[in-house]
């Protein structure tokens, strides 16, 4: 039985843990993490912030997009230890005092999602896109949101939601 195998003597040691400090959604957070742990896994497994999604773990789908010091990044392609001292904003940090962020509300208004799995990444990416200030036209929004795959294909509604927020700001 499998349990019998558990008594095997261990000799291969995983890398030791390093203390990391992050400001996550405005809260200073200090924790120990192995250097091979991605920022994505640190958020999901260590900090229990599962709003940030794992879709491919290879930077191919964008579901793990978060804002680090105001810039959108794929948190699966970033080791947690690389971001020591950084300010991280996840989907859980966007609503204030129980009120949805205008981007969150715009996603609901325009039905910019179906299954909801890519949605936190899309919303964080859209926030980063607006902060970058490069995309002005629908074509530019489409191009610069193409790192975030939505298999339910809510793409036109995502563009409409982003335009709504851009128009209001």
């Amino acid at each position: 039985m499998a349990r019998a195998l558990a008594t095997t003597q261990t000799t291969l040691l995983p890398p030791g843990k390093i203390s990391v400090e992050l400001v996550v959604n405005g809260v200073e957070t200090k924790f120990d993490v192995a250097p091979w742990t991605t920022l994505l896994d640190a958020l999901r497994e260590r900090l229990d912030l599962t709003g940030t999604k794992k879709g491919c773990d290879h930077g191919q789908c964008g579901a793990c997009t978060v804002l680090v010091d105001g810039r959108r990044i794929n948190s699966c392609l970033t080791l947690a230890v690389m971001k020591d001292g950084a300010k991280v904003t996840t989907i859980e940090g966007l609503a204030t005092d129980g009120a949805l962020h205008p981007m969150q509300q715009a996603f609901i208004d325009h039905d910019a999602f179906q299954c909801g799995y890519c949605t936190p990444g899309q919303i964080c990416s859209a926030m980063g896109l607006i902060a970058e200030g490069k995309a002005k036209t629908p074509d530019e929004i489409r191009e610069m949101m193409s790192g975030n795959i939505c298999r339910c294909a809510a793409y036109p509604n995502i563009v409409a939601a982003i335009q709504q927020v851009m128009g209001a700001s």
Binding site: D57, H58, T90, Q114, R151, C152, A153
Partner: protein, 786 residues
Amino acid sequence: MSHDRSIPRRPGDISRREIMQGAIAIGALGYVGADAATSVAIAAEQQSPVGTPITRYIGTAISRIDGDAKVTGGAKYAAEYKVPGLVHTFVVGSTIAKGRIVRIDASEALLVEGVIAVLTHENRPRMADNDKAYKDDAAPEGAPFRPLYDGKIKFNGQPIALVLAEESEVARFAASLVRVEYEDEAHVTDLYRQRDAAFALPEPAKPRGDAAKAFGASDVRHEGEYYVPIEHHNPMEPYASTVTWDGGGKLTIYDKTQGVQNVHRYVCGVFDMKPDDVRILSPYVGGAFGSGLRPQYQVVLAVLAARALERSVRVVLTRQQMYSLGYRPAMIQKIRLGAKTDGTLDAITHDAVTATSQYEDFYRRETTWSGLLYHSANATYAHKLARLDLATSCDMRGPSAATGVYALESAMDELAVALKLDPLELRLRCYSDRAQTEGDVPFSSKNLRECYRQGAEAFGWDKRNPEPRSMRDGSDLVGWGMATGVWEALQMPITVRVVLTANGHAEVASATSDIGTGTYTIMAQVAADMLGLPLGSISVKLGDSTLPQSPLEGGSWIAASVSNGIVTTCKAIREELLRLAKKVPNSPLAKATVDEVALADGRLMSRQDASRAILIADVMRHGAVDRIEMEKSTSFANDGKHAHNTHSALFAEVKVDEQLGVVRVTRVVSAIAAGRILNAKTAHSQIMGGMVWGMGMALHEETLIDHNFGRIMNANIAEYHVPVNADVHDIKVIFVDEQDEIVNPLGVKGLGEIGIVGVPAAIANAIYHATGKRVRDLPITLDKLL
């Protein structure tokens, strides 16, 4: 194994079911037998002039009621439940396609600190040893795959070991240290190589006339062979199961699935567990598209590990590992169309060869759509199945129709060219008002003509220059193509529970799922209207195996099934309220019958005279009840006198860079006739999503196999291309009015599949119109246009 099998039928069901074999498979799983009483009740509800539902929410563009949870990160998916003492895992997959494991050596992996165990076929806990136990609701004929059962390898990437560790990174690292020695056997993964070895399936539908003879005698003939490659669903959420060890061997399992009760029965069967000892939960599903109809192997691995360690366990597949699950089978289709010079069809023959595994016979009825969609006195169909050393193929959005109609509608376009006839005009000349494949019966409703008219008008089809390569936009060639789509309006027996409480709140529950389709929202809308309550006073429960019986969420049948199920149960609530209301002194409803009263604005009222009403709260107070709970089953009797289908007309514009061959789909219009639309907003999204899937099928999606190794080469979401935002431009969805008083009381027909059907052909036809090149194998990548 015999390939000559008969398919069990549900009483009263006729051949329309044969179009989609899966519906029969599911119908045969214990939901057999129409509930005559309920069917009669529904018929009465529908026919009664006073029985029309008062619709305040149905049909409107209500935002998803699960929207807040999904935009805040509050919606939890299968891998996201925090469980104390959770064991993390990593799956080790085989690196050969066929053979057996000679030796599996986990000793090095076990030396890694934090590794608890490595589970293999040699040390796993006991599991069932018979095929029956592994047969789930959507299992095809054959011997289902048994994860970690023995050392036999049936496909590349097959799970052969599960590393269990205290942390996920440790499990992943240790998995790289598991050494495996195989004994290889020759494998074949190429459909074209197995084409001649394919075996014939039973006739997909009864042929009519003599298609071969009629084809030979036709004035104008077209014959073409069309290929669709293997495609993978790639839902955004990876397959995952979190099994919580509840003590005493009881398990609560958060699983990614389209059917919690299917997984429940399966887990109970495979592990010989009592129904009360297993609970499956799946409140949110990050897309599935058919890949979650059958229980996937991660749930077996997770339960094995939980039982081995008597601890809670999570198994999450990587994106790469998800390519070892099911897929849309590759298929070769041959179409022959014979027509008179006036554009009426004399002959249709549709032959298909599709792929399955060595151990199960998965197939659908690709070919019969051809005989359904257009009028022709002569039609024949043939379907062969080829065995490959791959996992079993499975349903993927619009199974059989997305592929079968692609071939037919491409062929129709080629026939139009041969006839020198506008492709839309050809469709109108071949229009069929009757379902010839189903005994030449009329449709319960078919407003396809209006789809053609409104779609063509919105697109501007009348401005099309029929000559290929005749339209340009700068350096781009412009092409306009069109096609038709069809799907079946299926419905399945379902049970719905409604609990109305005296404070004016109601809970509606069924063990269905919402895979992004909007089930939560439409359930709330229908319940609110049927109970006369504000939407905010309705709560919806689904995705829990302990809830009342629901079929799998698939085949576009949930919206029709669950919404009419809610109508049935709410009628029982109304009956009970009326019974109590009659006991109220001087009751204004003393003589009313249930069909004469409605629930609206928190009152039970006469339909004829709204002043004759009593507050629900008063009725319940007088009756001394603080809650009314009803649980009713609804089944959908089929008199066999009508075909139930949804239809669409597609119009697509492409722009093709003449030098580079790059194709952009700049405009697509889809006009849909699908009965009553329950929610204009979520329905639009469903169709739009399907249309983008059709774009992916036409231009991007292809699972590539290195046949030397029998291994998928692009098992990731960067090299398996799916449409991204920049690929999607102007999408227009039109819902054509289609009232259907026959299909079910609410006239709902379902939308999940119809959106994709026809889109690949419309795009392929537009590419022909732009370039003059007819590409008959998907996807139409730029190399095929240069």
